[in-house]
């Protein structure tokens, strides 16, 4: 009885507030495939929108593709399978010529107006371009890409992870 009481009191006293913890493991870490020795170049990363967040989608292409090809595939939108998984795009389903002029700063020109695009849509373009350039193994830029359209040239920007 006495022991129980002591235990109860100890529990009451010790159980208040936010207590420190030791180091606790919580789930696997994210993986970065090194293009130089993991053949990451064979994987194409496209950024679609999932639950309002820009999310990478991996597509196997068998061979390395260039930035313009990757952007063209991005503008084509998610596949049926991806769409049924919840992926969507904020970009217009327009195709046209995409020209890349290596920098710095790297400038990518599109044939459709950019003014009407949401920031998420811009981010889709920027992140996909960055991923494609990283996959090519090219030294990546100073962290910024300039997008240009027939109507406007946007300021240089980096891939945003919301």
């Amino acid at each position: 009885m006495k022991k129980l009481l002591v235990v109860a009191v100890l529990l009451l006293v010790s159980a208040c507030g936010v207590k420190p913890t030791p180091v606790v493991p919580a789930g696997p870490a994210p993986t970065l495939r090194n293009p130089s020795n993991d053949g990451r170049g064979a994987d194409l990363i496209l950024y679609f929108v999932l639950d309002g967040r820009v999310t990478p989608v991996t597509r196997s292409t068998g061979a390395a593709v260039g930035v313009t090809t990757a952007l063209t595939m991005l503008l084509d939108g998610p596949t049926y399978a991806e769409a049924s998984d919840g992926y969507a795009t904020m970009l217009p389903s327009e195709t046209g010529s995409i020209t890349l002029s290596p920098g710095p700063p790297t400038v990518i020109n599109f044939s459709f107006p950019l003014k009407q695009l949401t920031s998420i849509a811009i981010n889709q373009l920027v992140c996909t371009a960055f991923a494609a350039m990283a996959a090519e193994g090219g030294t990546v830029m100073d962290g910024a890409i300039t997008l240009g359209g027939p109507d406007v040239q946007l300021p240089a920007q980096a891939c945003q992870a919301f």
Binding site: V18, G27, R53, C159, A161, F162
Partner: protein, 469 residues
């Protein structure tokens, strides 16, 4: 006052109150504590999981744009991308420009992150402010190697702490709120139990004082009701038994009284005959004379016994009358002694100061004095001292003899009827009722007689109030 408080504290009510309060507090505390603990876990887990998930998603989103080995520019861009998490990106000696200071991260956590491919977290108490650190290693390849890129972030748990403190305060207040309820409930329960107990106690003490017709009303069918029923049955049985005994005793006394009365008439005739026989004894043949004297003596003894029985029957029937008159007690006692031929001398030593007056029944005082002095002369040894004094408004008459005293075993029974001090002496001169009658007379006056051994004999002290009450 303190003793009253102590007796109240020793009662059933405070014990019930205390027990109820303890049970209620333990229960409320356990419930509040359990909900507190689970709510705290939920708050912390929810917040921590959200923080870790957000950081991990951000890293996953950004990672494809990173190539190894990263340059300072890459780290800075990475750090900028993770700005909303206030995270710092570390790669061996390099760190991103934004985010928390990597040196503030606990060494344990840094070591764990550097050597594993799992996300790690740790809660740290920084001078009373809880902080939540997350370390995310970036693994590379398929075999789970560490890439060397580590992301750390720290979130303050102040708001969560405040919410949890609020929670615990609510829990305590809830527990405290339970206390008055517990006390009220306990008092109600105690009332429920104590009321019948108090009634029972009162009834039992009334029963003890001789009110045999006391009964309690039975309410309900619980243990207390059973107790009340048992009490009622006991009281009823007691009343019945006592009633039977009283009837029997009254019958017996009436029988004795009747017999005594019936014996009086033949005894009167016998006394007349024996008087004649006594007078003529000298002219009878010697054998016949002895028989005649024996019959005469026994007849006198029987007459006295019957008189005593009649006297005591009157007391038993409550028909004894007291006729008080103003007396000079010394003169009355002297008269009593003289009337029986006990003149002050060698056998009886009287010390009777004159001038002590009292309102007493002369005849009854005479009976008492005769019985006490006669008893002393019969059972004790001379000289018998008769001393009169006044003590606190009472008249006290002490009769002291110089005999063997009264045996200790008989002392408490000496005034009972037919008590004999010496069982070996089957027949004595007295009727065996003398002391009983003496005490009944004393009590009729509102006084009493007590018997003590002085060491050199027995002493009987008659104590009578000088005035009627």
């Amino acid at each position: 006052m303190t003793s009253r408080i102590r007796s109240w504290l020793a009662g059933l009510r405070p014990r019930l109150v205390a027990a109820f309060a303890v049970i209620m507090i333990v229960g409320a505390t356990a419930a509040a504590g359990a909900s507190y603990v689970s709510a705290r876990t939920a708050i912390l887990k929810g917040f921590q999981d959200q923080t870790m998930l957000k950081l991990r998603d951000q890293i996953v989103t950004y990672l494809p744009t990173v190539s190894l080995p990263p340059t300072q520019a890459t780290l800075d861009a990475f750090g900028t991308a993770l700005k909303s998490s206030n995270a710092v990106v570390v790669y061996h000696g390099l760190r991103s420009g934004s985010g928390i200071d990597p040196d503030s991260v606990p060494a344990d956590l840094r070591q764990a992150v550097a050597s594993s491919t799992n996300i790690q977290f740790q809660r740290v108490d920084a001078q009373g402010y809880p902080q939540f650190f997350v370390g995310v290693p970036v693994q590379t390849g398929t075999e789970g190697q560490t890439s060397g890129i580590e992301v750390y972030t720290m979130v303050s748990l102040d708001q969560q702490q405040a919410a949890i403190d609020d929670l615990s305060r609510t829990a305590w207040q809830t527990s405290a709120l339970a206390l008055p309820f517990a006390v009220v409930l306990a008092l109600l329960a105690a009332r429920q139990v104590l009321r019948p107990v108090r009634a029972l106690n009162k009834a039992a003490s009334e029963l003890g004082q001789g009110k045999l017709d006391v009964r309690l009303r039975v309410k309900g069918s619980d243990e207390l009701a059973q107790l009340v029923t048992t009490f009622n049955n006991t009281a009823a049985e007691l009343e019945r038994t006592v009633g039977t005994l009283r009837t029997m005793e009254a019958d017996a006394r009436r029988f004795v009284a009747d017999v005594s009365h019936e014996l009086r008439t033949p005894l009167a005739a016998m006394n007349a005959v024996t008087d004649v026989l006594d007078e003529d004894a000298e002219q009878l043949p010697p054998d016949t004379a002895v028989a005649a004297r024996l019959v005469s003596a026994e007849t006198r003894r029987l007459t006295r016994l019957v008189q005593d029985l009649i006297e005591i029957s009157r007391f038993d029937a409550g028909r004894a009358e007291l006729r008080r008159e103003d007396l000079d007690v010394a003169a009355a006692v002297t008269d009593s002694l003289a009337a029986r031929g006990w003149a002050p001398g060698t056998d009886v030593v009287a010390e009777l100061p004159a001038g002590i007056t009292a309102r007493l029944d002369r005849r009854r005082l005479d009976i008492v004095v005769a019985n006490l002095v006669g008893n002393a002369l019969r059972h004790g040894a001379p000289p018998v001292e008769v001393a009169l004094r006044v003590e606190r408004g009472d008249v006290v008459l002490a009769v002291t003899d110089h005999g063997p005293g009264i045996p200790e075993a008989v002392l408490p029974l000496v005034f009972d009827r037919f008590t004999k001090a010496d069982t070996a002496r089957a027949r004595s001169e007295g009727s065996g009722l003398g002391l009983s009658i003496a005490r009944e007379n004393a009590r009729l006056h509102g006084g009493d007689i007590v018997a003590v051994n002085t060491g050199t004999g027995a002493r009987f002290e008659l104590r009578l109030p000088r005035e009627a009450w």
